[in-house]
Amino acid sequence: MKEKLTTLESALSPIVSGSSVAIGGSLLRRQPNAAVRQLIRARVRDLTVMSWAGTTAIDLLAAADAIRRWEGIYVGLFNYGLAPNFRRAVESGRIEVRDFSETAMVARLRAAAQGMPFLPIRTLFGSDIAKVNPEQIRTFDCPFTGQKLQAIAAAEPDFTLIHGYAGDKYGNVQWPVVRDTDDMDQPFASGAKRLIVTVEKIVPHEEIKKQPSLTYIPGNWVEAIVEVPYGAHPAACDTLYDEDDAHLRDYVARSKTAEGVKAYLDEFANALPDHAAYLEKCGGLAALAALDVKGRA
């Protein structure tokens, strides 16, 4: 097996301005926020970003003016309301959006995983989602029944970023048996061209290979793996730690203005050399442990 363990800086260095990037996680779970802060530090711009239910990762990138186009099912802050910076950027015309409903986005991810240029659905008849996007959503006739169907173009991002629970140095990433599965991280990984994974913890391969069915991202699919404890902060990593309510409230408050969030980004991303410094800035591992939920090993 090939060793793929590296640093956040090195793993993300291929992502340059203008790249397309799929971002995993869903709602306040497993947002790859440590990776996103590194992209912000690296001053990457003009990204095409794809997501499932995106929250902090997308809004942080929007705040940093790193997104040119977004495609996905949702951007918001879950129970913290609309995504303030994403919203501001869309309303000001800086971010172009293309919406996909859930079956449509699922079709896009599965098409990529299956090596197909499209998959069919029949959800979006009559919806303006299809009307505004003839480039990626087209009506065609079923070759068997003749009935009208909608072809949804495959999602083919240059890079895919996922934050996971635990992995080995070969890039094999495992999930716990009991977990919150309300996301599309495995389908995102299945269809990825260049897959970069951050995990809470690197564990020995000997542990991984005892329970191979817990590996949801095989190392064979992975280009680089990085250990970033609390890598989803201020969002949660289910089974390990909860969302940081105080931090999120502060983020929302400071995001009321572009200046406010600029100061936030300077403080929590740009002024810091790396993820370790971010953790210190957030009070260090001792303070962050207050977010831990039972079960964190």
């Binding site: 869903s26 709602l27 306040l28 779970r29 239910a53 996905g72 099912i73 949702y74 951007v75 918001g76 879950f78 129970n79 309301g81 609309l82 995504a83 994403f86 919203r87 869309v90 309303e91 015309g93 172009e96 959006v97 919406d99 996909f100 409903s101 859930e102 079956t103 449509a104 699922v106 991810l109 599965r110 659905i121 029949r122 959800t123 979006l124 008849f125 009559g126 919806s127 303006d128 989602i129 009307k131 505004v132 009208k148 009991v178 977990r179 919150d180 599965t181 309300d182 996301d183 599309m184 991280d185 495995q186 389908p187 949660a236 289910d238 089974t239 909860d242 969302e243 309510d245 939920v293």
Partner: protein, 266 residues
């Protein structure tokens, strides 16, 4: 009258829409009043149906299929969801999408920023899509609900900004421009069935598919309803009162389902 709250009235009403063995979609998000509308009353309504007349009714909630609704925790952080017990927790959300497209859902609970005369809804953008006045959250599975669920139930507070003549963006195709237009667009029958608000209940006329006042909540006048809408719905000659909760239903809600007023809080 008034020995029950408006939320109790709505919850009991919704529960009566749920039939034995129905599979019901409930969302997970938001807080405050939006939580009550999107999560609290729907969960309470299904649980009430389970206890009252539909023991086989089930919920798909988040990615939990048939979650145990017998105990409701005080707070909903991530770990609350992680630890929630359920019959199944499929490997990813794609399974739920497949079940939607396959027509396995009977009921969904939906709400929107805008809803129009024909039950088209908008959670995507206010104003022009490419240059919006307000960018909303996107679409989630709301288009799927209107396309595939047998009886989508809308649950929204009546408000002239929300009940509009024509939505700015059709996220979910309801009855489109009425009549047969939904079928002509390629959608199956179905679409929004009922709109349950804090003041009244609406359905959609069988022929024109226009929104129609179906019942007024106890103490609410027709004029109060119309004043809270930007379009005039069909109004029948006589409008019944929304059937209030029974003593038994109230007892279930208060003692068994939501004793700490988590679900029906605001």
């Amino acid at each position: 009258m008034a020995d029950f709250t408006n939320n109790e009235l709505i919850t009991a009403y919704l529960s009566r829409q749920i039939r034995e063995d129905d599979l019901c979609f409930v969302g997970v998000g938001t807080n405050g009043r939006a939580f009550t509308l999107a999560v609290g009353m729907p969960l309470a309504a299904v649980r009430l149906a389970q206890l009252h007349h539909a023991p086989g009714a089930a919920v798909y909630w988040g990615n939990l299929l048939e979650p145990d609704l017998s105990v409701i925790p005080e707070h909903f952080t991530q770990d609350t969801f992680t630890q929630w017990q359920a019959a199944a927790c499929p490997p990813d959300t794609g399974v739920k999408c497949d079940m939607l497209a396959r027509g396995r859902f009977d009921v969904s609970f939906n709400s929107a920023a805008q809803l129009d005369r024909y039950g088209n809804m908008n959670i995507t953008a206010i104003g022009d899509y490419r240059n919006p006045k307000v960018r909303l959250v996107g679409s989630l599975a709301q288009p799927e609900h209107f396309a595939f669920v047998r009886r989508p139930l809308l649950l929204m507070d009546l408000d002239a900004r929300s009940f509009v003549e024509k939505v700015d963006f059709i996220t979910s195709a309801g009855h489109l421009s009425g009549g047969n237009s939904r079928r002509e667009a390629g959608l199956s029958e179905g679409g929004p069935a009922l709109v349950v608000t804090d003041k009244a209940v609406f359905d959609f006329a069988e022929d024109t598919r226009e929104m129609r006042l179906k019942s007024l909540h106890p103490g609410v006048t027709k004029d109060a309803v119309l004043a809270a809408m930007s379009f005039v719905p069909l109004v029948p000659e006589t409008i019944p009162e929304t059937e209030p909760p029974t003593v038994k239903e109230l007892a279930h809600i208060r003692s068994d389902i939501d004793p700490n007023r988590i679900l029906l809080k605001v």
